[in-house]
Amino acid sequence: MHGFSFDVAHLLAGSLVLVSFMLLYQDRLYALLNVFALHAVVLSLSVAWQAHIHDAPHLYITAAIALVFKAIVIPVALHRMIVRLGIHREIEAVGSIGPTMLAGIGLVGLSLAVMLRVTSDADLLAREDLAFALSVLLLGLLIMVTRRNAVSQVVGFMSLENGLVLAATGARGMPLVVEISVAFSVLIAFIVIGIFLFRIRERFDTVDVQALDRFRGDLQ
């Protein structure tokens, strides 16, 4: 593994962790979606770079899925949904930022400590990728735990899934990566459509203000 390609791969995977941290403290839904789009762009660059250095053309498909579907289609769809549901002005209680960030740092430390220790036999790039991927996965979990709004939980889940795609592409020559990323996209499309259909109906089925209050934002 020569220096430059390793450095770029390392930089991209590290940026993904950084963007995960940025997701952690966004308290407005629009900002959250924008940062998530950035997350997906970084992932797609990282996957494309892996495809380039490992000479694995099928990974370009995964990169394209990440770029088109996760960085453009889903954020735009969620954007419109937020407007339709009238929750775009909501500020979420994400807990105080300090402890959440500290917890995030702890999780990243944990994943580095675990993954670097157990992968001593694997090649350096794969080790780093796995450690970063586990960090992104755990940070995604943390985002889901600290939020109560359905839309931002989905964003948390998608960032978690980005971590999985990073891990899968980091494992050299892993089969079924493209299939798995397609399966995940279908899964996410289902959730997004699900929220949209169900939430819209709830809104217009009733004019009871209290019911609206009760259902607002929180699907849990």
């Binding site: 157990v118 001593s120 694997a122 991927a133 889940f157 299939e179 169900f198 259902f215 699907l219």
Partner: protein, 482 residues
């Protein structure tokens, strides 16, 4: 006949897959319900033919004595549930809880779930198995939310989020297994094939394999419903249509358990990797004791039996965690008996809830007086699930307890404690349902008794006499599991 025997694996998968498309297109509830039953029956026939002959393991499918048990059990419960579902869903259509369009969707999803589960059980590839389990999960999520009440949507959402997180962990574990295989097996599909992994696992990096198992156990354990990860299970059982509660408890939990068992045998072949046993014993015991106490405070009848499923999955995981021929045998028997009994209970409960118009335990009283057949079926079912002799579950629980006493007496005390607590709770509740002053509506019920009686007869029969063929088959599988 020869055609069937030569291609039975393909039939087990192709029949449900074909039925998905057909059921999605065809209008008319009676036709699609009948077709659903027919497809499930044909799948069962194809699955049963695996007993007679099955193809050797190839790059795509792996059929051995272990998964034949799972496939046949799945297809059997899938078939009886489709019979129950035909009458249950007809009633839901009459009361207007479901529209014909939704029914079409429901039947298609039912076959999609059967396809996903059979695929997960039969494939020879850990990545494809993961995709198949995800498919089955997605189908059940959609069915749990089908009533579209606020509660049903919330249950579906919770199920979806927790199952997705679980399944994400499982995928990470799968990637780690591949990573550990990479230096030994090389790149490509071989690194994800069961048969290759089993043959060469002894040389894999033990540390990576151990971490992989932890993720796989947590991931698939979420789907099994083990205690700290069980939160989706009661909601999903209570708010969806009852046939789905029956298949969730009877099948889907087993499929996730199958994945754990496969990975456990893989771990056992690598001497230096962590032993999966203690992890499974701990989680199993926590689930058992926790669920046993939770049984006392349930107000919803389907939630009550959902917690009982957590309790039983705890016992089963505990038994497999103890390992050894006797405990494994007990675990297999317990799993089979639990699937049969629990789905019979859900069939009964479904009809009871329909005729009474409520799922609240407090409002269901005196069933033996108003609906004697359902009432007594429920009595037999609950006694069986609580572990009364001479019914099937008593025998398997007795085997679990006695084999544990011989090896780890202290664990056996906790086990027996959990079993007794659960026993008390179930009998307490049973008294309320079955006896006393009748309450609620007393209209006669149009129930399909055949699936209920078929399951209960099997459970009672197995308690009295186990056919030697079954015993030797289970014994062989128990040895395989190590």
């Amino acid at each position: 006949m020869n055609l069937l025997l030569a291609n039975n694996v393909l039939f087990v998968l192709a029949i449900p897959a074909g039925a998905i498309g057909l059921l999605a297109i065809l209008p008319g509830y009676r036709l699609s319900a009948a077709l659903n039953v027919l497809a499930s029956f044909l799948t069962l026939v194809a699955a049963a033919s695996l007993f007679i002959a099955h193809p050797p393991a190839d790059a795509y499918f792996l059929v051995d004595d272990l998964n034949i048990v799972f496939v046949v059990l799945s297809c059997f419960v899938g078939f009886t549930t489709s019979v129950f579902s035909a009458s249950y869903i007809g009633h839901e259509l009459e009361t207007g809880r479901l529209t014909p369009l939704y029914l079409r969707f429901y039947h298609a999803m039912y076959q999609m779930m059967m396809f996903g589960m059979n695929l997960a059980l039969l494939v020879n590839n850990i990545g494809l198995m993961w995709v198949a389990i995800e498919l089955a999960t997605l189908a059940t999520v959609l069915m749990v939310g089908i009533y579209r009440t606020h509660e049903a949507l919330e249950a579906a959402w919770k199920y979806f989020i927790l199952a997705s997180v679980g399944i994400a962990f499982a995928l990470f574990g799968t990637i780690l297994v591949y990573m550990s295989a990479l230096p030994i097996v090389g790149e490509g599909l071989q690194g994800m094939t069961w048969t290759t992994l089993v043959a060469r696992v002894s040389a894999f990096d033990p540390a990576l394999l151990s971490v992989a198992f932890v993720f796989l156990f947590l991931g698939y354990g979420t789907k099994v419903g083990l205690a700290p990860l069980h939160a989706w299970l009661p909601d999903a059982h209570a708010e969806g249509p009852t046939p789905i509660s029956a298949v969730l408890s009877g099948l889907l939990l087993n499929v996730a358990l199958y994945a754990i068992l496969r990975f456990k045998t893989l771990m056992a072949l690598n001497r230096e990797a962590i032993a999966p046993g203690p992890l499974m014993v701990t989680m199993g015991l926590i689930s058992l004791v926790f669920a046993a106490f939770m049984l006392y405070r349930r107000r919803d009848i389907k939630r009550l039996f959902a917690y009982s499923s957590i309790e039983h999955m705890g016992i089963i995981v505990f038994a497999f965690g103890m390992g050894g021929p006797l405990a494994n045998f007990a675990g297999l028997l317990q799993m089979t008996m639990h699937s049969l009994t629990k789905s019979a209970i859900f069939f009964t409960v479904g009809h009871v809830a329909q005729v009474k118009g409520t799922q609240k335990i407090a409002e269901i009283r005196g069933l033996t007086e108003t609906h004697p057949i359902l009432g007594f079926a429920l009595i037999v079912g609950v006694l069986a699930i609580a572990g009364m002799p001479p019914l099937g579950i008593f025998m398997s629980e007795f085997l679990v307890v006695s084999s544990t006493f011989a090896r780890q007496p202290l664990l056996a005390i906790a086990l027996v404690f959990g079993l007794l607590v659960a026993f008390g709770a179930l009998l307490l509740r049973l008294q309320g349902f079955a006896f006393g002053e009748p309450s609620g509506r007393t209209a006669p019920v149009h129930a399909s008794y055949v699936p209920i009686f078929a399951h209960l007869a099997l459970v009672v029969g197995a308690g009295i006499y186990l056919p030697p063929l079954l015993v030797s088959w289970f014994h062989h599988v128990a040895l395989m599991l190590g």
